[in-house]
Symmetry: C2
Subunit: 331 residues, 2 copies
């Protein structure tokens, strides 16, 4: 399953609106004979890629998949058919498919005489590459990760507005790699006017990485014609609204499943107020400012008992910074 999860990670960001699934095929003796990840939408699913790699060795073997194999005809034939046709004796998957159209794969396989087991490393799979897609299936909304870098005292800029750099080179590099795995990066028009960010995924030398997300600027006013987001180095959408629900509805229509919100305090506050921040990814730098903008602006909370509650999912170090991943608690 870890090999399958790694395959899913490898295609994370390239498959939306399809899920970034990974698959490993073992032969009858338990030897690894095929690996695969789901290809870009319309292309083959992970199971088909891995079965093709395994060839005849799949017969009597085991397919290990991060998501319950689909049983419906979409743009590709059902994976359950491919698994049965390949003669696999056993299918092990992590997460059940919440898509009512595609679900039922497990029972279809069992009906064809395949031994099926679900739930292996399900929690790890839910938190990994499949997180945003599962959220989208369950809620109908793209998944929103709000990312920010602040000092220990919560500032995202100094009194004079300078903010380069609050976080470490390690943290910034990690965010650029993260940008290659999401579908769209969203900022407010205010951030474009203040910082003129390129919003591309780049390496330490400034060279573009392999995959670029859709750049999305939210706001009713015009953008400066020379803004870096309009430089054509990656696709850009300017959504003339301030309503987070309208933003997500528009993006869902573009096949966007996984959103990285990198906007300033005002836009982040609007998303929090609408209950649309699903995850917070905070890079906390070990420094103190005492003045300057704070990460989150007004979010509709007036008293302590009304705070937007979250649960810390993971705390790690990112170079000298503390990286906190927290997910929303919905009542």
């Amino acid at each position: 399953m870890r090999a399958a999860l790694a395959q899913g990670d490898g295609v994370h960001g390239a498959t939306s609106p399809n899920p970034p699934v990974g698959c490993a095929v073992l032969d009858a003796d338990g030897q690894l004979v095929g690996l695969g990840g789901t290809q870009v939408a319309g292309g083959p699913h992970a199971e088909v890629v891995a079965l093709a790699a395994a060839g005849e060795k799949a017969r009597g073997g085991t397919a290990v998949v991060t998501l319950e194999p689909c049983s419906h005809h979409g743009r590709t034939p059902p994976c359950t058919e491919a698994l049965v046709a390949a003669g696999v004796a056993r299918v092990v998957y992590a997460v059940a498919d919440p898509n009512p159209q595609a679900a039922g794969g497990a029972s279809r396989l069992a009906g064809a005489g395949v031994e099926v087991r679900g739930g292996l490393l399900a929690e790890e799979a839910e938190r990994g590459a499949l997180r945003a897609w599962l959220h989208w299936q369950r809620t109908g909304r793209p998944h929103v990760t709000w990312k920010y870098a602040a000092t220990l005292d919560g500032r995202v800029a100094a009194a004079d507005g300078t903010s380069r750099w609050i976080s470490s080179p390690e943290s910034r590099a990690e965010v650029h790699r993260l940008r290659t795995r999401i579908d769209a990066i969203v900022v407010g028009r205010g951030t474009v006017l203040a910082d003129d960010p390129a919003l591309t995924a780049r390496d330490a030398e400034g060279r573009p990485l392999r995959r670029q997300p859709l750049r999305v600027v939210v706001g009713t006013g015009e953008l400066p014609s020379g803004a870096k987001v309009l430089d054509g180095s990656a696709p850009t959408a300017h959504l003339r609204t301030r309503d987070p629900r309208a933003v997500l509805a528009d993006l869902a229509g573009r096949g966007v499943v996984d959103v990285l919100l990198e906007g300033g305090p005002t836009l982040a506050g609007a998303f929090a107020c609408a209950g649309l921040i699903d995850r917070v990814l905070a890079y906390i730098a070990p420094s103190l400012l005492g003045e300057g903008a704070v990460a989150l602006g007004a979010s509709g909370v007036s008293t302590i008992t009304g705070a937007h509650r979250m649960v810390v999912e993971q705390v790690t170090m990112s170079g000298p910074d503390v990286r906190v991943s927290a997910v929303a608690v919905r009542d």
Copy 2:
């Protein structure tokens, strides 16, 4: 050494202005025969307590001490003499004594034919119970830990001023235990007026813990006569100044070595501005507010390159909260 460190931890908070030292005595066969921690100022040092427990079994054995044994006559005779008189063959210590009056213990012991080794677990010892005392010896100033509890977005109160409770019961209980290990707890007069805190160390049922720190209120105005800090349940000092250097000088004169700063944003900002925050202990609760007071007020920093820099020393979970311990970087 771990047993000696635990002895030092056990007396942490009870010894100032003496260091909270721990000692373990092993007999000639390496069996543990005595343990001890330094007693309240004027009382016996850790070595003397442990040697008394060991009795004749110390002869030919090893004394393991968290701090280099003292060689001067203070309120008690030098520990080096006690060690030689007890006939120990070997002394192992963690940290060298930075006190020029007391130092030289290692060479004094070696001169008396005792085998001496320093530096064992020195880093752990420096970060433990001895931290504040070592800082005081090296700088002449009490050590200041600024503790605060904030939301992920850096708020210490909601828009309406409510702040109970931002942090979890686990974090609050930990802070109460911490209060028993420091010498003085410092807040501004504004915090007394706003929150009327008792500033005592209490258990979950509100009962006072074994040891209470000096309660210190900083500010030029009067305190309300009914304020909880004036309830007589623990000693209280009202320092009629707003100058952090004057506060620390006054406290040093009272034998205070280890200060816990729990004041609001204004007082914390003044300490940061004066370069007098040695350590930050942040309890970061996984919630978002978007409005309300921020932990740190103006601290003399106008631009990002002037930020007060720190190094993260430890990150742990405290119940659902992220606990970050960071120490100041001094150029």
